[in-house]
Amino acid sequence: MDVARWVKKAKKGNKEALLHLIMSEKDVYYRLAFSYMRNTHDAMDAMEEMIVTLYEKIGQLKKEEAFYSWSKTILVNVCKQLLHKRGKLVLLEDWSNVDDSELDQAVSSDPYRRSEQQMDIEALLLQVNEHQREAIQLKYFHDLDYQTIADITKVSLGTVKSRIYHGLQTLKNHYRGDVDEQ
């Protein structure tokens, strides 16, 4: 059965249908939540809140096909609200404080290699401002299209494209700088 039909069922208040929709993409949602919340516990909290919000608001969704991008927008909003509420908006600068064991639990690869690679990418992403960083992460790590990113970050399509473009330019320049100095 295709997405639109499940969405229609969910619109009629069918909780199992909604659950099915989420569970069939559970890893994608979880990764998105995890990248904002930085730990398993909070990521699952955010998803719980998301599914309740989806249930309440699904009547407002006009295009059934847009369910996935719409629900991801809601998930990110929930994450941001939770972070805001807890007053611990995790900035990239603070990533080093993140409990590494949490990350290790969440990933299957070698923890040693993991942290090394992570530090590289963190150090790299610190070179761009937070808006550019968020857009780049959503695009390159979570495979979201420009329009969804625009919805999530509440800016225009053009702004998203320019954030990603300029962010990437900055990263490349930075890299070149490093190399030149060596």
Binding site: L19, E48, G59, S109, F141
Partner: protein
């Protein structure tokens, strides 16, 4: 180190892709969803906003002495009716009949009966109202269908939905009626319309042809004739009729406290091939012969392997004969069986003693009185009933009990309660 930025990003992506959701996620999401309150009213509200949909639930009145309650299909099946799955599909298969019969209402609005769709469970009419001078947003009064008559046919309106266009010059609507007799060739729609001058209504009619041979065939019609015992009587399931537009279960209720709990019939599930069929509505009718009911479900799948009726929940009764102390309380919790009773406030007014309580939505107390050592005062009336949302999101029913006495009570006496009880009784319906 790989010094290509894109490569780095791609590496990190691969890495993130190895993160998988924990096992317990499904359970947590399910629990979160299940604790979310059912949202029927909210949903309707948002539909109102979005589409400016005019919704009519017509309760049959007037000459009919039957008490007729109906929770219509449109409450649940809005999308279905207008964006259409079932009916749309049937329409595409050419199951409808074109009528295109026009008439003019007293206010100049043109009424067109565009088409109909009929089977053994219902009769659906599609119509259009047009008026270049503009139509009222809620043309409930300008045009209110009441019934369809014909040979051995007197079919009352069940429910309808309609949609107005942006210019407010055209309303397209759909209205369902009880089934019509398969021998009728000509049908007459009876409707009420508003007279301009004094706000009075006049009855209008329009006749149109009907071809019973084009009615959709019934898929299943079989008798069930099984009884289920409940606390205060029996439910008899008599028959199941499945047609291309819906499935109807009919039966008889011989239950004293049936109407003590809202939507009591909605705890009956029709399970086909292991999955529940969506309930569309239910109704019950009292006449000399007793109380009959019908429960309407969505259509059945084409392949049938098994069919069961499950009385999951139904009105139940629990005897309590409980005495609950009212001394020194505010927001006090008692347990009635496994239901909560919150006593929120006790006060004395000029009307008597007022006790504000809250219980689960489905709980209705029976035989309530208050007492001191010497005397008991029975409940006079209940006022200010409302639904309140608790901190945990649970809906509670709050109301104030009024007792005709000025004596400060010591205790609250409750004989019993009506509530939605889990029965989980199963009836197998044989499939061929």
């Amino acid at each position: 180190m790989n010094n290509n930025v894109e490569q780095q990003l791609a590496d990190e992506k691969t890495h993130i892709a190895s993160i998988t959701a924990p096992e317990e996620l499904e359970m947590r999401l399910r629990n979160a969803l299940n604790s979310a309150p059912a949202k029927r009213t909210k949903r309707i509200a948002s539909i109102w906003k979005i589409a400016a949909v005019v919704l009519l639930v017509t309760v049959i009145s007037g000459q009919n002495y039957n008490a007729f309650a109906y929770y219509g299909k449109q409450l649940f099946g809005f999308d279905e009716l207008l964006n259409g799955t079932t009916l749309q599909q049937l329409n595409e298969k050419g199951m409808g009949q074109n009528v295109n019969k026009k008439t003019t209402l007293v206010d100049g609005t043109e009424l067109t009966i565009n088409g109909i769709m009929a089977d053994a469970n219902q009769f659906i009419m599609y119509y259009t109202l047009t008026n270049p001078n503009g139509l009222e947003d809620m043309s409930v009064d300008a045009f209110r269908p009441s019934k369809i008559s014909g040979f051995l046919t007197d079919s009352n309106v069940i429910s309808g939905t309609s949609l107005i266009n942006e210019e407010h010059t055209e309303i397209k609507g759909q209205m369902s009626f009880d089934r019509v007799n398969p021998f009728s060739k000509k049908l007459t729609l009876h409707f009420w319309q508003q007279l301009e001058e004094n706000g009075q209504m006049s009855e209008g009619t329009v006749a149109f042809p009907y071809n019973p041979n084009e009615a959709m065939e019934t898929q299943i019609k079989q008798s069930i004739n099984k009884k289920i015992k409940v606390d205060k009587g029996t439910i008899t399931f008599k028959s199941i009729t499945a047609t291309p537009t819906m499935t109807v279960i009919k039966g008889k209720l011989d239950v004293d406290n049936f109407d003590r709990v809202n939507l009591g019939l909605h705890g009956v599930q029709l399970i086909v091939n292991g999955t529940p069929v969506e309930i569309l509505g239910s109704g019950n009718q009292t006449s000399l012969g007793g109380r009959t009911f019908e429960i309407r479900f969505d259509t059945l799948p084409t392949e049938l392997h098994s069919m069961q009726l499950v009385v999951k929940e139904f009105t139940g009764y629990q005897k309590l004969d409980g005495k609950y102390s009212l001394i020194s309380i505010s927001d006090k919790l008692f347990l009635l069986g496994d239901k909560e009773l919150w006593v929120k406030n006790v006060s004395k007014t000029s009307q008597g003693i007022e006790i504000t309580i809250a219980t689960d939505d489905d709980v209705m107390l029976d035989g309530v009185s208050i007492g001191t050592n010497n005397e008991n005062t029975p409940l006079k009336t209940t006022i200010n009933q409302k639904e309140t949302k608790q901190v945990d999101g649970k809906l509670m029913k709050e109301r104030t009990l009024l007792f005709d006495t000025q004596t400060e009570p010591e205790s609250l006496l409750i004989e019993g309660m009506h509530y939605l009880k889990a029965y989980n009784k199963v009836i197998e319906i044989p499939v061929d």
